[in-house]
């Protein structure tokens, strides 16, 4: 035992190993989190769509209990046995409630199994590759769609940093000083996926879809990039962790209600920030290829757009890529404009101070048992709270995404392009000048 602890201490004491191990742990966490969130957002989408459209949505899919028999259980009616075990009579209201909840047939999870069932279905589908496609690109295209948003997510901070006895852990996979640029660089890459899919399919509907996707994504990349320049000017950094830290201390970009956020300059800057927010959110919609901007795959005129010829897991990759882009886009919006992991109202600073104080008290010789335990955990508790805040905001924004999708009709392609080049581009440029003027004249 002692030997293991010594080993652990010597490995973690080495800054290189410490960095490597923590990074891999964060990477795994982020990857699993993102993919789980994609699955969850599919479920959220379908349930909310059902809610909006006066129908239940997938609410029944559970884990069937007869699966237990597959794994060796001899019990035919487990519910009956469990009720007998607890001494509940078979005709009592508890038993009736359990039957009503279909507990005799399955373990219901509010339909949460549905996305997994969908995934399994897509995985087991026969994969058809038409004979006339350009094979290499046809296979590569889905990877280009799914990969880049996952890579781009690496710089998103999901919590503040925590001090351990081996050193500080920064709660984002890669704390780059060019975080924003990283995201733009990689999310821009997914254009290749759509273009290649459209071109490699060697069929007309996908081809038009691919062309539309290319034009649309490139146009909105411009608007998106220009729209956040005012924000970067305000924070004077490209490091996303620092931007969020700044917001936690001095008020979120759109809610400057504490710290330095109460200054006149920040309140005047609200105007350009709101403009940026509108342009940025719209561009995220366009980048994620979702209604009202799903030009590239609008099923009523292009059948399926660029993924018409795809089936099985290749299609699922496009599908997931869209959702990953949506989740990453939402995370980016809340990171830049709504304080990321910050709990808000100055609570982060208080919590950080509390954690520091608790750590100092806990390391004291006179500390009680509880105080020392709290001293160890305080930092982690704060990080966890902030993580929960991040997830809550993310879910709220994903809800917004879904809400818009099931409410608005679709744009026409030329209108989308006009909106980007004739409206957003100009406004974004003016917005930059406006912000510069505000920063210069109002101190």
């Amino acid at each position: 035992m002692q030997f293991i602890i010594d080993c652990w201490n010597s490995v973690m004491g080495d800054p290189t190993w410490f960095y490597l191990i923590t990074t891999i742990a964060k990477l795994a966490l982020m990857f699993i989190l993102l993919l789980l969130f994609v699955v969850l957002s599919v479920w959220i989408e379908r349930r909310i769509a059902g809610w909006i459209q006066d129908r239940p949505g997938p609410n029944r899919t559970g884990i069937p209990i007869h699966l237990l028999q597959r794994f060796g259980s001899k019990e035919k009616q487990p519910l009956k046995k469990w009720l007998e075990y607890f001494g509940v009579p078979a005709n009592s209201w508890i038993a009736k409630l359990c039957t009503w909840l279909r507990l005799d047939r399955e373990i219901p999870l509010f339909g949460l199994i549905q996305p997994m069932a969908d995934g399994a279905k897509l995985f087991l589908k026969q994969e058809m590759t038409p004979s006339y496609v350009r094979k290499g690109f046809f296979i590569a295209a889905p990877m280009f769609v799914l990969g880049p948003p996952l890579i781009a997510a690496a710089v998103l901070p999901f919590s503040s940093s925590v001090d351990t006895c081996y050193g500080a852990i920064n709660m984002c996979v890669a704390n780059l000083n060019i975080g924003v640029l990283w995201i733009f660089a990689f999310s821009g890459l997914s254009v290749y996926g759509l273009t290649l899919a459209g071109w490699a399919s060697n069929s007309k509907f996908p081809f038009i879809g691919g062309l539309r996707a290319t034009a649309q994504l490139i146009s909105y990349e411009v608007a998106m990039g220009l729209s956040i320049i005012p924000l970067l000017m305000m924070f004077s950094t490209l490091n996303l962790q620092e931007i969020v830290q700044n917001q936690a201390e001095n008020g979120w970009t759109l809610v400057p209600l504490w710290g330095e956020g109460l200054s006149l300059q920040r309140w005047v800057l609200l105007l350009p920030m709101c403009i940026s927010f509108l342009i940025f959110v719209t561009s995220v919609f366009a980048e994620a290829n979702r209604t009202p901007f799903d030009m590239a795959e609008c099923e009523t005129d292009l059948v399926g757009g660029y993924h018409t010829e795809y089936s099985s897991m290749k299609f699922a990759s496009f599908f997931m890529g869209e959702y990953v882009a949506m989740v990453v886009g939402s995370a980016l919006v809340i990171t830049l404009f709504l304080g990321g992991w910050s709990i808000g109202l100055g609570a982060d600073v208080c919590l950080a101070d509390w954690a520091k104080a608790a750590a100092i008290t806990g390391s004291d010789q006179a500390a009680t048992c509880w105080q020392s335990i709290l001293g160890c955990c305080a930092g982690w508790i704060v990080v966890l709270l902030q993580f929960v805040a991040f997830i809550v905001k993310l879910v709220a924004f994903v809800f917004f995404f879904v809400w818009v999708r099931w409410t608005l009709p679709r744009f026409r392609f030329d209108q989308v392009m006009k909106l980007s080049w004739l409206v957003f581009f100009e406004i974004a440029v003016i917005n930059i000048l406006l912000t510069a003027a505000i920063l210069y004249f109002i101190q």
Binding site: T129, N202, S203, K204, M295, T300
Partner: protein, 413 residues
């Protein structure tokens, strides 16, 4: 394990020239084949488009994929048997077709329904108009990307189908009318059902108006798109709401009233613009008028018989059949040979949800038509596609097709 299968399709897309993307990149025109199985074509319409980028250069609509020889079938079965086939014309408003057909044959016979029978037919045809418009508008909204409205509309349509089920046993293929009457009378308490439906339907119409009609994206997409001028509409033989949206106030319920439509107060909305937006707006307004007619009809419906009161041609009451020789013979004759129509020719058109559904019947006497010719409104709507579509974008096609609210079953017969 081999996970991927490559399919050679010798008779399909692989070899067909128009399916291949072999346009030269120096700006050749591309032939795009939309349909016959395509989400926007509502059935099996095929459009052979020539496109220049996103712009349609020419359009060649190919119809007939759903041709079932309906007119020929009419020559081989007697008038009452053919009612069941009329369900399949405009399968979104089967009741209207039944009524139009029955009215045409009754015109040939020179019969007039009693008051209650007429009122029942008016209520049924207005209900089916509402159900067809609800579906048409919902699908139209879905074509321009607003999925949710479709489901709201479908809920209302289901209510109409529930009512169908109560009055004739079938939800969809109603076959409600017979020559000279209806299979059965309305059930007790139908007025409450209909008034409830009117209530919820007007709410849904208001909702649709709020969700779509004042929606910026929706307006931008549809205003000025697919403009059909008055002349184009008339020369193409368009009828119904599509014609009225182009500025022609022609509604058969007003111009040549049948089934006692002159007794009800309603307006014929007319729009002058002739674009997709006008057609949407006009349909919403017509639904309101239909609800108005329904409310009046329910209030005014008299008591009495629903069948033509004659000794021949209609089924006798079942009670009498069990006891009387004469009635038994009559039941046998009506079931096997239907009515004994006089020789002659007759044309009757009814204002159906899709437009004017006309039946031309040439009779040489007896229970079977010598020739039945149908004038289908969807055919008129689709015939101007090749003039209308050039110059529009590909994205406009679903909007334009949706705004026509056509049904292939009726166009192809």
């Amino acid at each position: 394990m081999k996970t991927s299968t490559t399919f050679d399709m010798p008779d399909a897309s692989g070899v067909l020239d128009y399916m291949k993307n072999n346009a030269h990149d120096s700006g050749d025109l591309v032939t795009l084949n939309v349909g016959p199985s395509h989400p926007a074509t509502h059935g099996v319409l095929r459009l052979k488009l020539v496109i220049d980028g996103e712009v349609v250069v020419s359009c060649d609509p190919v119809i007939g994929h759903l041709h079932r020889g309906m007119e020929k079938i009419a020559e081989n079965c007697h008038y009452n048997q053919y009612v069941a086939y009329t369900d399949r014309f405009d399968y979104l408003a089967p009741m209207s077709n039944n009524i139009a057909y029955a009215c045409a044959v009754e015109k040939l016979m020179g019969w007039e329904l009693p008051e209650r029978g007429q009122a029942i037919r008016v209520i049924s045809s207005e209900l089916s108009r509402l159900s067809s418009y609800f579906l048409g508008l919902g699908v139209y909204a879905m074509d321009v990307g607003a999925m949710t409205v479709f489901l709201y509309c479908y809920e209302e349509k289901e209510k109409v189908h529930n009512f169908y089920e109560k009055i004739c046993g079938a939800r969809f293929t109603s076959s409600y009318t017979r020559i000279g009457g209806m299979t059965r009378d309305f059930p007790e308490g139908f007025d409450k059902d209909i008034l409830d439906f009117c209530e919820s339907a007007s709410k849904t119409i208001d909702e649709m108006e709020a969700l779509l009609l004042h929606n910026k994206i929706f307006i931008d997409r549809l205003v000025g798109v697919g403009v059909i001028t008055r002349e184009m509409a008339l020369s193409g033989g368009m009828t119904g709401p599509n014609l009225r949206a182009s500025g022609v106030a022609r509604d058969l319920r007003k111009t040549n009233p049948y089934l006692g439509y002159e007794k009800y107060e309603f307006d014929v909305p007319v729009a002058q613009e002739g674009d997709c937006y006008a057609r949407f707006q006009l349909r919403l307004e017509e639904m309101r008028q239909s609800i108005r007619i329904l409310r009046q009809a329910v209030a005014m419906i008299p008591k009495g018989p629903i069948w033509v009161q004659l000794d021949k041609g209609i089924l006798p009451p079942k009670k009498d059949v069990m006891q009387g020789m004469e009635e038994l013979i009559r039941q046998f004759m009506v079931s096997t040979q239907s009515v004994n129509a006089p020789a002659g020719q007759v044309f009757f058109a009814a204002e159906n949800p899709k437009g004017e559904l006309g039946f031309f019947i040439d009779s040489k006497g007896g229970g079977v038509a010598n020739r039945l010719k149908m004038r289908s409104p969807s055919f008129g709507s689709l015939s101007i596609l090749s003039d209308l579509l050039p110059g529009h974008l590909i994205s406009d096609i679903p909007a334009i097709l949706g705004s026509f609210d056509f049904v292939q079953g009726e166009c192809d017969r």
